[in-house]
């Protein structure tokens, strides 16, 4: 059997390494770095089916084979041997908010989010140190057949569904970091929305890194069946650490005919985190996929949410906002591939660079032959707040079809003296005025978010802007 062959090829039969009791072995020797042993233990520990173990081990080979990208951000300081690839929390999966440990609640409190969550959220999947510790789902969704669970449980409880789609949108070989995630993934969300079901309240999950040097490799798969609708919100906030850490997620979305998926993220990783994420969606006939993507934290983010428009009339929208402060590089953007007639897309990117921060828009717009009647528009605005700040725009536009209409525009500007002067004449301090201009600049993105997230986004930017003047 091929599965066995892989395990033996890699010398992973249990006898050889003597981990008859892998769990015990695992807890005795958590260690940095990655090898087939670690990967096998993760799989074993999760009690995964054989095909997933094979998937992980093949992905690891691919991760090793692929060179570290030399484009985008500087990855040379990222040392893969200095990272923990799996840490299991001592807590088990909580059944209700009351079961969530007090110190975790405190962390949530300090970040000022759970008030809004508790009041407005119906279901919460909160990821804390690689495992989902808290999860609840409203009864009515369960009744209509909606699945919203962590990815590990999803694989256990809905293996066939997972196996059909997992890794089909983003193959493990897609890029080095998708390969890494495929090898060591843990947690993330699995969502299935049955035909015709509209989920009115956004599904939300918070991800945080709380252990030093810990990698976080969540894996999310969302399938919206025909005519369904779902809005999924992923927020990331992390405390600050002193050494580099790595976050490398894979998110796959499938929007079947007439379905609509909106996926919103506000990323606020600590300023030493490498945030290297692969996000890709397919949209079939008359389906719509929208990515709303805010990048505020991290040392380096490389993330380009993609939509493949595979069916006639499909639509893709990507809204991206990036804030790069001192020492940060936000290399973000979006990709749209028009592979069917009468498809449409819109990419809007807004970036702000301050101090020595650098924000980069990197995007692809591809119209395949036969995607006639396709329309696409890409708009990039960059705001520079300092003379040492930097912004780049690298759009790739590839058109194979004549009956198309594509437009790309980008502008770069600084905060106007007259704007500031006007606001200050109304009694605002320079700092307040600057924050107001910045908030106005990102407003088109903020207004696409649920209110509490928009407020959080504005508040985060205000915090980032503190001390930005003078």
């Amino acid at each position: 059997m091929p599965e066995d062959r892989t395990i033996q090829e890699l010398g992973l039969d249990e006898y050889k390494f003597g981990f008859h009791d892998p769990e015990e072995y695992f807890f005795k020797t958590p260690r940095k770095g990655i090898d087939p042993e670690i990967v096998a233990m993760i799989s074993k520990h999760k009690n995964e089916p054989e095909w997933m173990l094979e998937f992980r081990l093949n992905a690891l080979k691919s991760f090793w084979e692929k060179p570290t990208p030399q484009w985008g951000g500087n990855l040379n300081e990222l040392n893969f041997d200095e990272i923990y690839y799996y840490i299991r929390p001592m807590e088990n999966q909580g059944r209700s908010w009351d079961d969530v440990p007090e110190d975790i609640k405190n962390t949530f409190e300090r970040l000022g989010i759970p008030q809004a969550e508790r009041e407005t959220l119906a279901g919460v999947g909160a990821q804390y140190e690689s495992e989902v510790v808290y999860h609840s789902l409203k009864e009515e969704w369960e009744k209509s057949g909606v699945i919203f669970t962590d990815m590990d449980s999803g694989l256990r409880e809905h293996e066939d569904l997972v196996r059909e789609y997992f890794g089909t949108i983003i193959p493990p070989d897609d890029n080095k970091f998708a390969a890494l995630n495929s090898a060591v993934w843990s947690g993330g969300s699995f969502v299935y929305v049955p035909p015709g079901v509209h989920i009115d309240i956004p599904l939300q999950a918070y991800f945080r890194i709380n252990a030093e040097n810990m990698g976080q490799f969540e894996r999310t798969l969302i399938i919206a069946d025909e005519g369904s609708y779902v809005h999924y919100i992923e927020g990331c906030t992390a405390p600050t650490y002193t050494t580099n850490s790595l976050h490398s997620a894979v998110v796959e979305l499938i929007a079947k005919p007439n379905a609509r998926i909106r996926y919103s993220t506000i990323q606020n990783w600590s300023h030493n985190t490498y945030n290297l994420v692969t996000k890709r969606a397919v949209a079939y006939e008359d389906a719509t996929v929208e990515w709303v993507d805010g990048n505020l934290g991290s040392k380096l983010t490389m993330k380009y949410p993609a939509v493949y428009l595979m069916g006639e009339g499909a639509r893709g929208e990507i809204l991206s906002v990036a804030y790069a402060g001192d020492g940060q590089h936000q290399d973000a953007g979006g990709k749209v591939v028009h592979a069917a007639p009468n498809t449409s897309s819109l990419i809007t990117s807004k970036s702000i660079s301050r101090g020595t921060g650098r924000s980069t828009y990197r995007g692809l717009l591809k119209v395949h032959e036969g995607a006639e009647g396709s329309k696409s528009r890409v708009e990039c605005d960059a705001l520079l707040l300092d003379e040492n700040a930097r912004t780049d725009t690298y759009p790739y536009i590839e058109i194979e079809e004549k009956k198309v209409n594509t437009e790309h525009e980008a502008t770069v500007s600084k905060v106007g003296e007259d704007q500031l002067f006007y606001l200050m004449s109304r009694g605002l301090s320079e700092e307040e005025a600057m924050a107001m201009v910045v908030n106005g600049f990102i407003e088109p993105i903020a207004k696409e978010l649920p209110l509490e997230y928009a407020i959080e986004l504005n508040r985060l930017i205000q915090l980032e802007m503190e001390g930005s003047v003078g």
Binding site: S62, T168, I170, P171, D173, V337, A339, H368
Partner: protein, 118 residues
């Protein structure tokens, strides 16, 4: 009537193997799936690379660059990031030699588009 070009000896390619040949200036991948020979343009339809440098698993060829898979019999793209089929060529074996009739369709990736007029 398609014109067949002699490519190689039939026993050059063992089952499970894939090799690249130049035919009329075009890179052609020739593979053996359980004794049957299949030929296709040796260029990924997603981004330029030679598919024959990737892996052949059953009747599927996997691109070495981003893992896109193609059906070697039909050319169909089976997984993202590729969405367009790879052109397949007609193959025949006569007197122990493999002959290939080139598909006029080419991979449209900017390069290798037969600029040379013959």
């Amino acid at each position: 009537m398609a014109e067949f070009h002699k490519v190689t000896k039939a026993d050059e390619i063992a089952p499970g193997e894939v090799k690249q040949y130049q035919v009329e200036g075009r890179p052609v991948a020739l593979c053996n799936v359980e004794g049957e020979l299949y030929a296709f343009e040796d260029i990924c339809t997603h981004q330029f690379t030679h598919l024959s440098e990737g892996g052949l698993e059953g009747g599927q060829i996997k691109c070495p660059l981003h893992g896109a898979k193609f059906d070697v019999k039909t050319g169909k793209a089976l997984s993202l990031p590729a969405v367009k089929p790879v052109p397949t060529h007609e193959v025949k074996v006569e007197d122990g030699h493999v002959y290939v009739a080139l598909n006029p369709k080419r991979v449209k990736i900017g390069g290798g588009r037969g600029r040379r007029r013959r």
